[in-house]
């Protein structure tokens, strides 16, 4: 037997309760009463069932995350931890989520986890990574025996057989499924896959529950590469759909989302081939034109052609020269005839015939036109129409 002070006992009780795992994470169903919400923003109430009751407190930060706060008399599911409050010596439920009791425990757990992980930033859109355009290695986490795997492989074979698939088989439902999915994810994180699909075929809400487990959500969140979720049917939404980088409505859709279609790749190749042909074709056409131009230039510059051109020019010049000379000769002939006629008109014979005479100095034969050209006694010759006279100058005088 021991003796403890109140403080010692209360501390002991608090520590005792704190070590209990069930009390650390618990849903409690009951009816709300004595609800009070003072200015502090915290919320205090009592959960009742028949004639039993439990004190509950909900801190202001948790109140903010609860979509609809209950009022007195509401039947609710309250989530939180149970602890011993030493100051008042009372056991209290510290509530972090409240759901109407009608929605069922799974839905309540789903809403609580979703709100909590959202608040923690696990669904943050800014965290979403884009998928590799051409995946090299695709990791798949699913049941190795499920139809979902075959559906996905069929699509991957058809669309993008260049890729390699690394299959991390796991258990997708039942006890231990969450841990199996986590182990499969983690084994893929050790490889060099560049995208991961987490998939499961359709099933009931309970069948799909594995993908609403917190450990699975956190394992997906920790992925070093983009994760695509493809769980159930189009209408099913799971927590990992929110955490994944991309949500696909079904496993087949996930396989389509992570791969390009080889039909498009082939079309791209064809387009590039056409571009290649066109580029080189244009280039060759240009060279052809340049060659034709150069050939023409060359011909014009060739010596033979140049010689021919010069000969042609020379020939033309010669023709022009000949014509010119002919013309000039004819002109001279005509001029000569004219001059001859003129000359004959100017001949002294005609003058002599009219009675004039030409006097020359006998000494040098020069024609005497003024008296001063001769002196007295000089011999002179006189030319008349029909002969010559020899005479001697007797006297010279000046002109009359």
């Amino acid at each position: 037997m021991r003796l403890l002070s109140v403080a010692q006992l209360n501390t002991y009780l608090r520590e005792l309760l704190d070590t209990d795992e069930i009390l650390a994470d618990i849903w409690v169903e009951g009816e709300v009463s004595n609800l009070s919400r003072p200015a502090s923003g915290h919320c205090y109430f009592t959960l009742k069932e028949a004639d039993t009751q439990l004190r509950a407190v909900c801190w202001r930060s948790a109140v903010a995350r609860i979509p609809a706060m209950p009022v007195n008399g509401d039947a609710v599911l309250a989530h939180g931890r149970v602890a011993f409050y030493e100051a008042s010596g009372q056991i209290q439920l510290y509530v972090d989520m409240i759901r109407p009791a009608g929605v069922g425990l799974l839905a309540a757990r789903f809403a609580e986890l979703k709100a909590r992980l959202a608040a923690e930033g696990l669904f943050d859109p800014s965290r979403k990574r884009s998928l590799p355009p051409w995946p090299r290695r695709i990791g798949i986490v699913t049941s190795p025996t499920g139809a979902a795997l075959q559906d996905m492989l069929t699509i991957l074979r058809r669309r993008f057989p260049l890729a390699e698939v690394l299959l991390a088989g796991c258990q997708v439902q039942g006890v231990g499924a969450a841990e199996s999915v986590v182990a499969a994810l983690q084994s893929l994180y050790q490889t060099n896959v560049d995208v991961i699909i987490v998939a499961r075929g359709g099933g009931s809400a309970e069948d799909l529950w594995t993908f609403n487990e917190e450990v699975v959500a956190r394992a997906v969140y920790a992925s070093p590469v983009p994760v695509v979720s493809g769980v159930g049917h189009e209408t099913d939404t799971t927590i990992i759909d929110e955490v994944a980088d991309l949500r696909a409505p079904t496993p087949s859709a996930a396989a389509e989302l992570v791969t390009p279609d080889q039909v498009e790749l082939r079309a791209d190749l064809e387009a590039l081939q056409a571009q290649l042909d066109e580029t080189i074709g244009t280039m060759i056409d240009q060279r052809h034109d340049l060659l034709a131009l150069a050939t023409r230039n060359l011909h014009q510059l060739a010596p033979a052609a140049r010689l021919e051109r010069e000969q042609h020019r020379l020939h033309e010049l010669m023709q022009r020269a000949t014509a010119w000379i002919d013309h000039a000769t004819a002109l001279r002939h005509a001029q000569l005839a004219g001059l001859t006629a003129q000359l004959s008109a100017l001949s002294p014979q005609a003058t002599l015939a009219r009675g004039y005479a030409i006097v020359r100095r006998t000494a040098d034969g020069s024609v005497v036109t003024v008296p001063s050209q001769v002196a007295t006694g000089d011999m002179i010759g006189i030319t008349l129409r029909d002969g010559e006279l020899e005479a001697q100058v007797r006297e010279t005088g000046s002109a009359p």
């Binding site: 051409w134 090299r136 890729a163 390699e164 893929l188 790749l265 081939q273 290649l276």
Partner: protein
């Protein structure tokens, strides 16, 4: 089993093909070089096609070192 996947091989060929076209379109190459590039481009395109034709999806099952391992 490591080494380049078919995707990587395809990527290498395809990006080389794109580079060749860009080079050719810049248009400042001697004709002989252009023709050599063109021939390489045609061969690359054929290789890409061949890779697609011959590709068979490889599926490898991962041996798990069980949870916690």
């Amino acid at each position: 089993m490591t080494g380049a996947s078919s995707t990587e091989a395809y990527e290498v060929l395809f990006s080389r093909l794109q580079a060749i076209i860009a080079r050719l379109e810049s248009g400042d190459l001697p004709l002989a070089d252009s023709l050599a590039l063109y021939e390489e481009g045609v061969a690359l395109s054929a290789s890409c096609q061949h890779l697609l034709d011959a590709a068979v999806l490889r599926v490898r099952e991962l041996q798990q070192q069980d949870a916690g391992g």
